[in-house]
């Protein structure tokens, strides 16, 4: 069986990370699994975890009053779920639910923030890996807002 160090190192998010940094972040990591239908987290809850999906499919949903929940993104193998742990007030802004059996690495967000705070080189490394993901999602959101396939006015 693979140890958590190997699993973390093999995940694209941490791939190529300096071994000393890897030792640091691994102390924050554990393996988790979610059955289909199970929530990773729900809107308003404390954002205390970063999930790195190994295998599976997770849906992000926002509850809309008087209407069924809107599913606005799904994430799969090798992708990252949850960014609200990064900035105060550390609350989830949406629900995340497994829609098939999902295996992931759960990183304790408080632990990870602490390691980044006490070693800024590690912090910079983590932020450098997060930024392209955040920017990609921002651009995708812009495209969704433009509603490019929508009916003309």
């Amino acid at each position: 069986m693979k140890g958590i160090e190997q699993i973390v190192q093999e995940h694209p998010f941490f791939q190529g990370l300096d071994e000393a940094f890897c030792d640091l972040v691994c102390t924050c990591a554990r393996n988790v699994r979610f059955d289909s239908g199970e929530y990773l987290f729900q809107e308003g809850g404390v954002a205390d975890t970063l999930y790195l999906i190994r295998h599976g499919h997770v849906a992000l949903e926002i509850a809309v009053p008087g209407r069924p929940a809107v599913r606005f993104q799904t994430l799969g193998d090798d992708e990252l779920v949850g960014i609200s742990w990064l900035v105060p007030p550390y609350r989830w802004a949406y629900d995340a639910r497994a829609i098939e059996l999902t295996r992931a690495i759960a990183m304790d967000a408080g632990c990870l923030r602490g390691k980044c705070e006490s070693d800024h080189d590690l912090g910079y490394e983590v932020i450098k890996r997060l930024m392209p993901i955040l920017i990609g999602r921002l651009q995708a959101t812009r495209m969704q807002i433009l509603d490019v396939y929508g009916a003309p006015e």
Partner: protein
């Protein structure tokens, strides 16, 4: 790929609707007789000018199988006066047809390479003939990938056919929608998110992209990021048209006439024009 033009390209040949099928809420597929001839051969990516008598004429891509030129298949989204009138025509109704016009997808030149087709919304219709063409000569191509983005699950075009294609082992099909309800178990997110998930050799890939212009710009960026050469990226452009034969200048896009030089154009040819607000 270019085919010969009809004798008087400005005169619509009278023809009639054979069948009409609703695809999604505002989109219908019409099968027409070829009009005036036994068959009207076309290349994937070409379009016809369809004339609704007393209403007007618009360009509509051929969305059927180029191997069946005795039936002209068109998929029409009802957005304005002419397309609405066209989409409402039932079996036996009269239509005028001119065409086929324009330059289509470089399906022949792509032989030997991997082919990635990226469609957004109605953009799947002009790409479908290219896929039919490739699948009927499957051994001549490398990996073939279809990436399709729609607005919501209810807006997915050619759903049954997509499911059939998805079952093929020699074709990778990935579908995503911009948003969905919780009963949708497929992917949610923009079409360009599918590019990094697809398996193809970026150094030996030809990409065909068709959809709203904003989506095509993002698709080109995703393909470039994946390592696809811009010279191997082709887009189908839409501009208002009148003559469709390069005379009136209505469809001019910089130095390019979309009706005659396009609608399928290489990204290299139009890269400077694509992001300009007005041409």
């Amino acid at each position: 790929m270019r085919l010969s033009m009809p004798s008087d390209p400005m005169r619509p040949a009278p023809t009639r609707v054979l069948t009409r099928r609703r695809e999604v809420a505002d989109t219908w597929t019409l099968e027409l007789e070829p009009g005036g001839t036994a068959e009207r051969p076309f290349a994937p990516g070409q379009f016809n000018m369809l004339y609704v008598f007393g209403v007007g004429e618009i360009p509509i891509s051929l969305s059927g199988d180029p191997a069946s030129p005795h039936r002209q298949v068109h998929t029409v989204r009802a957005v304005g006066p002419v397309s609405r009138a066209l989409a409402a025509l039932g079996p036996d109704a009269a239509v005028g047809v001119r065409g086929p016009f324009g330059q289509g997808w470089p399906v022949e030149a792509a032989a030997g390479a991997d082919v990635v087709l990226i469609a957004g919304g109605l953009g799947l219709a002009p790409l479908r003939p290219a896929l039919y063409y490739i699948l009927s000569r499957r051994a001549r191509y490398g990996r073939v990938v279809l990436l399709y983005g729609a607005r919501s699950p209810g807006d997915i075009l050619f759903r049954r056919e997509l499911e059939r294609w998805r079952r093929r082992t020699d074709l990778e099909v990935r579908v995503t929608v911009d948003h969905a309800g919780s009963d949708w178990l497929g992917r949610v997110g923009v079409a360009t998110n599918l590019v990094p998930l697809a398996s193809f050799d970026p150094g030996d890939t030809v990409a065909f992209v068709c959809g709203p212009e904003v989506m095509m710009r993002f698709a080109v960026a995703a393909l470039r990021e994946a390592g696809v050469d811009t010279a191997a990226i082709y887009l189908s452009m839409e501009r208002n048209m009148k003559c469709a034969i390069g005379h009136c200048g209505h469809c001019q896009f910089g130095p390019t006439f979309v009706c005659k030089d396009g609608p399928v154009l290489s990204f290299e040819r139009i890269r400077g024009l694509l992001s300009r607000k007005e041409i």
